[in-house]
Symmetry: C2
Subunit: 82 residues, 2 copies
């Protein structure tokens, strides 16, 4: 039970960050390297989940990968390629 | 193998964010709710790891919990209680 709550919390953690970045249009203080590590890490977790056929890993990391890569896209747009 | 690289990446992801926050002394764009979800989520993952006696969960989440709670402390200090 604790594991499910933990998984839900760490999976959706980037949602408020994404909403904040969208509303303030500012990502200056958000670390690019943090987003790169997170996005790549979640993509590999998803790949691992597919390899070992673990639905929990697949679902959780699909959600968090969408959130993290959206944030990464915003960060690149705001602070790297403007 | 992919799982280990994924775990390492998502575990250390907050390290560059913490270093950035320490060097710029600015955490304005970092979401408080993201840090609360992450810190609580990692604490619960650690608890779950202790309950099911999984050394990988315990080690990974001990490291990331220290990083996330340090960031949370900085965020509270910088933007909430000053």
């Amino acid at each position: 039970m604790i594991g499910y709550i933990a998984g839900a919390l760490t999976t959706i953690a980037f949602a408020p960050q994404l909403l904040k970045a969208l509303s303030t249009k500012s990502t200056k203080d958000v670390s690019l390297l943090m987003l790169l590590c997170s996005t790549l890490g979640m993509a590999l977790w998803l790949l691992h989940g597919i390899q070992v056929n673990d639905p929990a890993l697949i679902v959780a990391n699909s959600v968090s990968l969408v959130l993290a890569s959206s944030l990464l896209g915003l960060k690149l747009k705001n602070d790297c390629f403007k």
